[in-house]
Structure formats: structure tokens, C-alpha cells
Symmetry: C2
Subunit: 275 residues, 2 copies
């Protein structure tokens, strides 16, 4: 069975749109772009498109690639203090000369719709209401949409980044799952992929996960993609796995609408906290 996350994303957008309409909310979203890479621009276009769909006023703050750390922090502090700016985010990835951790530290936790700030990170860890890191957030919402309860389940996560996979592990632990986090130094990966109920992979290694590495009833969430010779590949060998009985997400181009939908959900949450 193929998980239809395009349909679920659309449901989420409609929820947000209706909420904004019914409560007559005046919400804006600013996106700071420093690094001019094509993927970031494509991603920002998605944010603009869906913000407009939800009646959220959108603005792009496009900075030069040479922008210094000091200048970026200055702009962030201005936005923190600007009552006209309800929420904003800094588009990652950032150029190499920028220290992303310092940037995240400077963002006001109340305006942090990406859910990256330490206060939101900590609240997510201890299971308090907060703005949630958007990728783990949509994974949980996707499972909820299919009535899949993580409790009593074995969950294997392949990867361990700060702003995505560690928060996902924490969310899964909070929901009662038994969670294993694997990385490039896992000595027996097959062992953990084969025995879990839910597998979430973001290795950037195209088609690394084959059918024989997965239990046939497992749920496979393939989060990232690699482009090779103009063709998009996920981490999982989709064709061979779908011939089996697993539930699987399609090649993850469509990760973006779900992530963007979660930004919109965080906007609503941020509005509730501030008003």
C-alpha cells in the first residue's frame, strides 16, 4: 500500500485555511534566504504557494550570499523586536561561513515556526506543547492520519541529525515506541531494519534499502531523495518493496508539502501562544 501523503498534506492545508478563516486571523510569514541554491528556492516557492492558499501573508527576505554572521544576527534581532512580523524562519542550508547553531539561538522561540530554538527543542523532548521541528512533526501526523499508534511498536530511524532525527526519536519515545537510532557506524543495520514495525530512512544513499532488508508488514517512511542523471531516487528500492505487502511512502519529492503544512500548523500554534 502506498501512503498518500499528497492527500494528507492537502487535508492539513484545508484545516489551517479554515482555522484562519473562521477565527479571522491576521498571520504573516517571512522567510530569510541567504544561500541562493536552486533547491532552497524551489522549496521557498512551495512555502509561498501554500501560505497564499491558507491566506497567510508571505514575504521573502533575500540576502546576499556574502552576508556575514553579524549582519544575519542583526536582521534576526530586528525581526524578533518587530511587532509587525508575526513569524519567520531562516531557510537552511546556510552558506558554510554561517554558524547555524548561533543563528538558531538568536531566533525568538515565540516566532520560531521551524521549531529549531532550544526552548522548543526542550519542550518537544519533555512532551510539552510547543512549535515542533517540522519533519518529525509530519511523520507523526502521517502515522496519525493512518491510525498507526507508535505505542508498543519497534521503530528504527536511520540517521541522527540535530534538527530532524534526534527530535523524531524523542517524539517517538514520548509516544511509547521502542526506538533505535542507527547511523553510518551501525555494525548490523539489516538486523534493525528487518525487525522493526516502522522504518524511517534518510541516508541519501539511493535505493540502499532493499526488499530483503524489511519485514513484509512494516511501514516504511522514505524521507529524502537523491537526483541521479535527472531521475529522482529515494533511499528505498520502491519498486521491489511495494510488490511486497508493506505500507510505504512514495519517492519523497512530496516531502515538501507535508513539511510546509507543518510550518502552517506551527503558525497557528504560535498565534495561540502569543494571543
Amino acid at each position: 500500500m502506498i501512503i498518500d501523503w499528497k492527500k494528507i498534506a492537502l487535508e492539513k492545508y484545508n484545516e489551517v485555511k479554515n482555522h484562519i478563516y473562521e477565527n479571522k486571523l491576521n498571520i504573516n510569514l517571512k522567510v530569510i534566504l541567504v544561500w541562493n541554491n536552486p533547491d532552497s528556492i524551489r522549496y521557498i516557492r512551495q512555502k509561498e504557494k501554500w501560505a497564499s492558499f491558507c491566506n497567510i501573508w508571505f514575504e521573502l527576505i533575500h540576502l546576499e550570499e556574502e552576508t556575514t554572521q553579524g549582519k544575519l544576527v542583526e536582521i534576526i534581532e530586528k525581526l524578533n523586536n518587530d511587532s509587525e512580523t508575526t513569524w519567520y524562519l531562516v531557510q537552511s542550508p546556510l552558506p558554510r561561513h554561517i554558524d547555524i547553531d548561533e543563528v538558531i539561538e538568536k531566533i525568538s522561540p515565540l516566532k520560531d515556526v521551524d521549531g529549531f530554538h532550544q526552548e522548543n527543542y526542550w519542550k518537544l523532548a519533555i512532551w510539552k506543547n510547543s512549535m515542533k521541528a517540522c519533519t518529525p512533526f509530519w511523520i507523526m501526523e502521517l502515522l496519525d492520519a493512518y491510525d498507526i499508534d507508535p505505542e508498543w511498536k519497534n521503530v528504527t530511524i536511520i540517521w541522527r541529525s540535530n534538527i530532524v532525527w534526534k527530535p523524531l526519536a524523542l517524539m517517538m519515545i514520548n509516544r511509547g515506541a521502542t526506538v533505535t537510532v542507527c547511523n553510518s557506524k551501525t555494525k548490523n543495520l539489516n538486523y534493525f531494519t528487518k525487525t522493526c514495525d516502522i522504518l524511517i530512512s534518510a541516508t541519501w544513499r539511493p535505493q540502499m534499502i532493499k526488499k530483503d532488508m524489511i519485514w513484509e508488514d512494516s511501514i516504511v517512511i522514505d524521507v529524502w531523495f537523491t537526483v541521479l542523471d535527472g531521475k529522482i531516487y529515494g533511499d528505498c528500492d520502491f519498486e521491489s518493496i511495494t510488490k511486497n505487502w508493506n505500507m510505504i511512502t512514495p519517492v519523497p519529492w512530496w516531502v515538501w508539502p507535508m513539511t510546509v503544512a507543518m510550518i502552517m500548523k506551527n503558525l497557528i500554534r504560535a498565534y495561540e501562544i502569543q494571543n
Copy 2:
């Protein structure tokens, strides 16, 4: 082989004592006690004893059990602003009418020698230098003292509390381990205990972990204890396991000196940050 953490704790105290002596540091530690339970008092006596050993000036702030949340927060804020108070901690557990998360939020991250504050939590998660939660901290130091590198190892943690086991999972992940966090809703616990290289247990269920649940070369760290009819039991059936070939910590009464040693190490770290 039995891990000699009494010896290692003593080494850590001597390190701290020498560091304070050589650098002529003037360090104090205050402990706020709200709940008058015998375990807390015994624990605080350990803190006092070892602070004195290291030449750290110690003060107990003993509050009434009926102290309100508001009053406790007021005292914390006073300590935050008091330049004479270098560091302090609030002894847990707290009475039921106190919201521990709010208390932690109020402690200045610079004076937080327990490593519980959100800033220290986040820095630990993203592997930046910080004051570290003391129980996970000593587990890492214990492994280091025996030259056991978590990289490439499978680590199983049984339990999932906010201030101890989630930070431990994050520290282990940062060090390259493949980490599984189990809880009371793990459907096949034996499976995860039997296949790991390092097992860390804090279930409070006396002697729950038997010899046949563990691989004979694994390292077993038994963190908590239960007192039954005046006798102390760990989570692990120590007798049967030590007859095997495993490395194991003894029945964990001696967890305290290690935890307290880590508070002292955090004090040194806190001093470096502030000066």
C-alpha cells in the same frame, strides 16, 4: 569483571580538588531542599562531604515542605541574581504540588550544575560544550575510564525519563553508538537486552534482568536500586550475571559518589564559562 566505580569516583574527586587548588578557585555550591525525604537528605550529605573534600564551600537552603511554587521560584530568581552564589541546584524529587519543569526553566543556565536547564539540554543534544545532566555524564565517564568507546556499539537503555535517559540516549548517539531506548511498552525486551554490547538499566524492578537475558560479553550498567526488607537490590540479578563473563557495575548504592563527582565537574565547567 566488576566495574570499580568507587575507585573511579575518587579519581574524579581528586581531579576536581587538584584543579581547584592549582587554580586557586573560589567556588560555592548551594542546595535547595524542599521535600524532606530521607533519601534526599542522605544524598545531600554526600554532596556536602565531597564538596568539602574538594574545597568547595557548601550551603544547604532548607525550605518547608509546604513551600509554594511561587515562593520557590522567587528564591531561585534571587539566587540567579546573587553574585555571591556561584552555583546551586534544586534537590529532586520535589513535593507533588511543585511543577518541576517550571522550576528548571527558571534556573539560570549558567548556575545550573545539574545540567537540567533547556539551554544545557539543547547543547548536550547538539554536542556542544555545556553543563551535562549528571547521571548520563557519569555513565559516559565510566565507560571512558575503562576505554570503552561507544562508537560501533549497540547500546540498549531501559527507561525514558526526561532528565536522565533521554539525555543519555542523545550523548550515546553523539558518540556514534546505535541506541535503542526501551520502556514499559516494549513488546520484546529480551531481544534488545540480548543483542546489545552495552546495557543500561533503571527499571526499579529488583533483579528483573537475569543472566539469560544478556550476551556474555556485554557491559551491564545497573543504575538504580530498590530496598526490600532492608536489603538493597539492583535491576540486575548480580550474582548470576557476575558468574558469567560480563563487565558489570555492583549493586548501585555507589551511584551517588559518581553523580556527585559529575556535579563537581560541572562546577569547574561553569566556572570556566563565567570567567
